[in-house]
Amino acid sequence: MTTIIKPFGDIHGDGMVQLSFTLPVQTSPEAKQAAVEFLKKMGFEKILVAHMEAMSTETTFFVVYGSTTHEIDFSSIKVSKLENPVLNFEDVNKLIEEKIGRKLVVVGACIGSDAHTVGIDAIFNMKGFAHDWGFERYPWMKAHNLRAQVSVEELVKKLVELEADAVLISRVVTQRDEHIVELKKFLEVLKNTPGISPKLIKICGGPRITHQDALTWGYDAGFGPGTKPSQVASFIVHRFVQGKESVVSSQ
């Protein structure tokens, strides 16, 4: 069954969208018309330039509304997402205790030149994030937060040394997709390193990372901003348990 949808402003199905942008021209009636023409090309009608203001002698700022002529069949949308249920702190620990019977070793780091540990710390630090405890507090996890500016080679060495079950890589600050280069490089180095658990769960995270991207690069999961430690912990434990069972059944 198809479900056709459009953005909803005042009345269901009116298609109303708000946009704001800058045009590199002097503020003028022509500039205003140019903004309208842009929206027309984007498939908008009933266009209203709500605000036009000079930002400098050569740039103009706009706030514009328009009704889109496009629509989407919502039932046709398919995205990759994590299917595992999100457990709380106690349940994650219980599951590790019962199904795995030993502590899971989890290693986290910000790789490359990135010095911003806000993401990895939110997941690892005892205190956690948004009243959701961090990995360091999980009794059934051995959490190692290597923090910032860890080189890919260093990280891989540590993974072997610590016999890691899962690795979390964070990239916060990036420019011109440098983070993707680094994240892919990690997988390359990992492939060529003996002593890495074949079941190592590879996770990346950061404001520019989506789960879909992470899968395409070859990671097991990707987490965006606002992720709570228990979400990541739930994924790790489910993936580990599933992985373990599949190994057992193939023997």
């Binding site: 400098s56 740039t59 010095a115 630090n125 500016q149």
Partner: protein
Amino acid sequence: MAKLNLDRDKVDTCRELAEGLVRPIQKYIEMHSTVSIERATLRLFGLTGASSDGPTPTPLTNLFVDKIDRYKLSLGAATWVAAAKIKNPKISFSEMAHKVAEGSLDINSLPEPSFEEIKQALKPGVDETIKMLDASRRHKEKMRGRFGYQWTPFRYLIVATGNIHEDVKQAVTCAQNGADIIAVIRSTAQSLLDYVPHGATTEGFGGTYATQENFKIMRQALDEVSEELNRYIRLCNYSSGLCMPEIAVMGAQENLDYLLNDAMYGILFRDINMKRTFVDQYFSRLIVARAGIGIQTGEDNYLTTAEAYENHHQVLASHFINEQFAKNAGLREEQMGLGHAFEMDPTIEDSFVYELAMAQLVRDVFPRHPIKYMPPTRHMTGDIFTSHVYDAMFNLVGVATKQVVQLLGMNTEAIHNPHLQDRFLGLKNANYIFNSARSLGDEIQFNPNGKLARRARSVVDNTLDFLKKIKEHGLMETIENGYFANMPRKRDGGRGLEGVFQKARRYCNPFMDILQPKERD
């Protein structure tokens, strides 16, 4: 005007404790030098070039210092500059440096001159440099006075395109819309480079390389726009990381107004070796003090990495420590832009009241210091509309508590490097609030035993306890144990320790001798 009726004895005790715990570090500092200090010394003599071969040119200062063997370097690079001068009095300094770099002049084979000989050989160069530092200070004083009074908080904006020419466009637009200070944020991890890149740069990651040429380009653009707007636009960059002293010299040479410069930031947040940082910050601050540059410290970072509500005492304790290190280097209070931030979890009940308490507390304790106030980042989500409200609350605290430098928040924080319109909206937000609440700070008083005043007093109490604990164990030990920002750093760990060396008894650095404050014991 003090508003919180703080226990002044407690505040004084905090200062005394900071003085005491910095003292042993200061002793260590005075016995050591670093490769970066020696390179900065060469820069003070006017050496700026770089070798032209290869894709990344190596600065002559690095080539020069690396050619001196470590035993000889412990006498100071100045000793060997003098030795080369004595051998060939006609040689220009840059000629000498090129010869040393190429290997046609072997510094290590020269005889060590006597102290008197060194002094005499270097005197013209040293005098000229001190004149340059004084001229830089006077020039900035003149420029600040020239266009009349500028209201504070100063509106501080960051540009960070990676391309200095693009940065200029952004900076000029900011200035036209009311910015008072432009900071060119550096390329990610420049602080970990043990050299300063050379020339104008058009590629960077998350920022633009701090190079002397880039400083010059931006300063010139801002001078032009200052004339056009009849308002002095100040320039800020970063003297932090492994090249603190060298960037301080460049900042003086190119008339920068502010430099980010913190006695402990590099250790905690960049994993730079603590000995290296302590020794480097001192020399960089000697230069900054004389050249009339304002420093800005990085205590806001304590609040972005851990929950702000629980860490305000760490910020205040670090302020006292940074202040003491700065005093030791001869900085005036008017040059010490101690940093803090509006970073509390906005869902905490009365979080705004506590932010106001902290901001007022910092002003009460450091009334003459040009305090730098940083915007919310940690709890920004990507909902640009809510973020804009959050920035407005931050601006209101800034103007009501008379912060001096306000780094404007961006509604697209946590999304991308700000676009032109993000800065425009940030400025509109600040312009409106600073203007509409201009006298608010003079009009409000706080309930002497209310929630806000009690919060401020409890931060002072916690700061006092924290400083006592540090005093008990020593500053280096407490850093090793992760007292600051929960970030344990080993005294011999981190980057750059190999660049620290003990000064020989006959170590010579004519600049250090002149710039060192005299009255200290």
